[in-house]
């Protein structure tokens, strides 16, 4: 994504950054927070380019000069990107970063570091960063990217300027998918997943999600009307389809969207995840009270949480289905 495209997606954020650069009021530390697929990483790289680019028009980097190209390829000596090593960002990584930044910039005198998934810093890593974040020795720009700002230390948040990335508007994404020749039903579901799951490069994955969608429709139908069948379907179709944990998580999301849709139907909102199932949803809406739907949503969310805690998937799903079926 280039600057202009990103500006269309995230007008507030990009205006803020643009103005900061123009006015020369760029802070030394930013915290970019927002869902997956909101363009945090693109924004951070673009901002780095905007600072180094030799041939920029106003603040927009050219993407063509040697500086921009080196940043694109991750070769720039003054731009460091820290990614989690395994499940977390270790203290050693932060120490290496600090050591690197103790020296002056190779070229422009400014150095930039980007910390991806900054919420995954271990406690000691985060604390080590504190002093360095507040008063770096050389001119430095820190960009911390996170999906969940609430897992970050208060002391880190207060040292940086928080910039929130808005989630992409669903309607727009739906029409984008429809333009690519997908049906409305498929597009509505895919639009609800972040790009790296349902994006352009995952043709197979898309079919897989659409197939999963049909499974959900079948399963909720059985939960509602033929409870004796649901466990069989789970065993025969659901579990073989959603194999690993990440896929299970997507499956639960699909289920979650169904019950959320029941609420939408109740409130006569548009924008359903299952627009072609409106009649069925209406029927379900008549049978479940708001409170019961809310309870089911809660159970699914709870199941998602347990999934992350490595609970046996089959038992988890069976329990969830029984809960969904038995009602209050």
């Amino acid at each position: 994504m280039n600057w202009e495209e990103l500006k269309q997606e995230q007008p507030t954020v990009m205006t803020m950054l643009e103005q900061s650069v123009e006015k020369g009021r760029l802070a030394h530390a930013y915290l970019f927070e927002g869902m997956k697929g909101t363009g945090k990483r693109d924004a951070s790289i673009l901002l780095a380019k905007a600072l180094f680019c030799q041939d920029k028009t106003e603040t927009i980097p050219c993407e063509n000069c040697i500086q921009c190209r080196r940043i694109s390829h991750g070769n720039h000596p003054d731009v460091m990107i820290v990614d989690p090593e395994g499940n977390s960002i270790k203290k050693a990584q932060v120490e290496a970063l600090q050591k690197e930044f103790a020296y002056k910039g190779m070229e422009a005198g400014l150095k930039v570091y980007i910390v991806n998934e900054a919420d995954k810093m271990t406690a000691s890593a985060a604390n080590s960063l504190l002093k360095f974040l507040e008063e770096p020795e050389s001119p430095t720009l820190a960009l911390l990217l996170t999906e969940n700002v609430h897992f970050m230390l208060d002391t880190i948040i207060s040292r940086s300027q928080k910039i929130a990335f808005a989630p992409p508007p669903i309607q727009k994404r739906i029409s984008l998918y429809e333009e690519q020749g997908l049906t409305q039903a498929a597009a509505s579901i895919l639009a609800r997943f972040p790009d790296d799951i349902a994006g352009e490069y995952a043709e197979e994955k898309r079919d897989w999600i659409v197939h999963g969608r049909n499974l959900v429709i079948q399963l909720v139908e059985e939960v509602q009307h033929r409870p004796q069948q649901m466990l069989l379907t789970l065993q025969e179709k659901w579990l073989p389809h959603f194999t690993d944990r990440q896929e299970q998580d997507i499956g639960l999301d699909l289920l979650l969207f169904w019950y959320r849709d029941i609420l939408s139907v109740k409130y006569e909102q548009d924008n359903l995840a299952y627009p072609d199932q409106r009649e069925k949803l209406k029927q379900d809406a008549l049978q479940l009270s708001e409170k019961e739907v809310a309870k089911r949503l809660q159970q699914i969310l709870e199941a998602k949480r347990r999934l992350r805690a490595n609970v046996n998937v089959q038992l988890l799903m069976e329990q969830l289905l029984l809960h969904l079926q038995e009602g209050s």
Binding site: S124, P139, Q269, K291
Partner: protein, 569 residues
């Protein structure tokens, strides 16, 4: 980059600039003047309250050329040297990065040497809570009896992580959160000095979302100034902080109070669309309720209100809100707030919270007035019986007679005729119902339909089975039209379980409602006719007559539309 963040530019250089910590600055000033300062201090408190700043100022003040003084002069070589870091005797250590025993041993070895440039060696150990247990223990002896020329200042946000043996060796100062008023005063001063143009309202908003941290406040101010075109307005601040306006909060609280789930959920939707943080919103909501609670208990105490400016709508809401309700909502929101941090779909979580709040309220109320409601129920039941008797005394008997003699063919024929009769009465009734019907009433019934079904099921399982086919299609507030797919189901409900359904309707919807049954095929027809009638109603066409005539309708119902021919007179 030549630009420096506001909070670094405006780091206090004098003790009296450390805002909102008079209890600490005064003690320190006096200790400095009287030269009674301790050899070890522990500064603790939330982020952005001035711990590190105070530590730096103290380091300067005791080493200042003019010492003993209340404040450092910031001009002599010692003060300047300490500020730019050229005086090696004042050491600022980042304990988070240097948390091992080795680093502490290094301090211990060095502390013995006399200072080089100034009178005192000052060790400022920041983020001290990150020291390892070994490191803490290695520090103990040195901390208790350092050489005369050494002073330790420990600063931390998490004092509970520090061993008691360390704490007992230090003079401890707890920094408070800075009050909104102090934050605003300091920001106003800075804004004036810098010659910026900022609305008062905007400053208040910043101060509120800073939650007592000066650094947070200045960061936000910095950001708002970068963001704003010219003058910083309240809207700019809302955009930067990701919070919502008080009007929006009021709206949501209002719908929660009136139990309008739909509008509350809609509000959640708008919130997300605008890219606001649901968790932040939840927090704001909790504070709103907290302030309302305080306002209710002590309306005159303006300064205890954290977030809310008291306006008309707030007063109005506060007046009508029950204390017990407020307690309850705050409790629930708190619980959800805790869990929400871990949820992957915060928006759905927020909606769930709203729904549960809207619903539990009703239960709490009814629980508190349990006996009363029981009595009310009894009275209602009695009233209902009386009206039933008055309205349809003979038919009830007839129906009963029908049931008792249901076995015989004759009776069954009679039964059918009764059915037709009731159907006939029904059509004209349906028309009146249709005329008075409103969408809101239908919504009420439809929303409660699952509960109604549940209640019916509790009373009688077969009734539930017969009724499961039905669906409410129209209601005018006293009569509900139920459409059935199947003739037999309809008959059963109509004849056998009528009163049961009526009871369920009445208790769940909390107002007297009569069920009226119809087949869904018929209903579609009537609806069509009614629609047709509605459109040309002004033009008084003859169609109206067709739809209105119960005899024709009944004829159609009995023999089917293809066999009926309507001739106009």
């Amino acid at each position: 980059m030549s630009y420096k963040a506001l909070y670094r530019v405006w780091r206090p250089q004098l003790l009296e600039d450390v805002v909102g910590q008079e209890h600490i600055t005064k003690t320190l000033q006096n200790a400095l003047v009287q030269q009674k300062f301790s050899h070890a201090y522990l500064f603790s408190g939330p982020r952005g309250t001035g711990k590190t700043s105070a530590a730096k100022i103290v380091a300067k003040a005791i080493n200042c050329k003019h010492a003993p003084v209340r404040e450092p002069c910031n001009e002599c070589y010692a003060c300047r040297g300490i500020a730019d870091g050229s005086v090696v005797d004042v050491v600022e250590i980042d304990a988070a990065s240097n948390n091992g025993v080795d680093e502490i041993r290094y301090i211990r070895d060095n502390v013995m040497a006399a200072p080089r440039d100034v009178r005192y060696k000052v060790y400022i150990i920041d983020e001290v809570h990150m020291l390892s247990t070994g490191a803490f223990n290695a520090l103990l002896k040195t901390l208790e009896e350092p050489p005369k020329h050494a002073i330790f200042i420990l600063a931390t946000t998490e004092p509970h992580k520090i061993p008691l043996t360390i704490i007992s060796r230090c003079q401890r100062f707890d920094f408070k959160r800075i009050t909104t008023r102090d934050l605003v005063a300091r920001m106003t001063y800075i804004v004036e000095e810098q010659g910026w143009n900022v609305e008062d309202e905007a400053l208040h908003l910043i101060a509120r979302s800073a939650e007592g941290g000066m650094r947070d406040a200045l960061s936000l101010l910095d950001q708002a100034i970068s963001y704003a075109e010219d003058k910083v307005k309240a809207d700019d601040v809302l955009a930067v902080t990701g919070t919502v306006s008080q009007q929006f909060l009021t709206k949501v609280v209002h719908s929660l109070k009136e139990k309008e789930t739909a509008s509350a959920v809609e509000a959640a939707d708008t919130l997300i669309q605008e890219g606001k943080d649901p968790l932040q919103f939840m927090e704001d909501l909790i504070y709103y309720f907290r302030d309302m609670l305080l306002y209710k208990t002590a309306p005159t105490l303006d300064e205890v209100l954290d977030r809310v400016t008291v306006d008309e709508s707030f007063k109005e809401l506060a007046q009508t809100a029950e204390l017990s309700w407020l307690y309850d909502v705050i409790n629930q929101l708190n619980e959800y707030h805790q869990e929400m941090k871990w949820a992957s779909h915060p928006k759905i979580f927020l909606e769930m919270a709203f729904i549960t709040i809207c619903h539990t309220v009703a239960e709490v109320e009814s629980a508190s007035a349990n006996e009363l409601s029981a009595l009310k129920k009894k009275i209602e039941q009695l009233e209902k019986e009386v009206t039933e008797w008055r309205q349809a005394g003979p038919p009830v008997q007839k129906a009963e007679a029908n049931e008792s003699t249901l076995q015989t063919r004759k009776a069954s024929r009679e039964h059918t005729s009764h059915k037709v009769a009731s159907g006939l009465a029904g059509t004209s009734k349906i028309q009146t119902v249709l005329e008075e019907a409103t969408k809101k009433e239908l919504q009420l019934v439809a929303n409660h339909w699952p509960d109604i079904m549940k209640q019916v099921k509790q009373e009688s399982v077969p009734a539930h089975a017969w009724l499961s086919d039905a669906k409410p299609v129209v209601s005018n507030g006293s009569t509900v039209l139920l459409a059935f797919q199947n003739e037999m189901h309809r008959n059963m409900v109509d004849t056998k379980f009528r009163s049961l359904v009526q009871d369920a309707l009445t208790t769940v919807c909390q107002k007297p409602l009569q069920p009226l049954t119809i087949l869904s095929g018929e209903w579609e027809k009537i609806k069509e006719e009614y629609k047709k009638k509605q459109q040309p109603a002004e033009e008084h066409t003859s169609l109206e007559h067709q739809g209105n005539d119960p005899v024709v309708d009944e004829a159609v119902k009995l023999v089917g539309p293809e066999l009926v021919e309507i001739k106009e007179k």
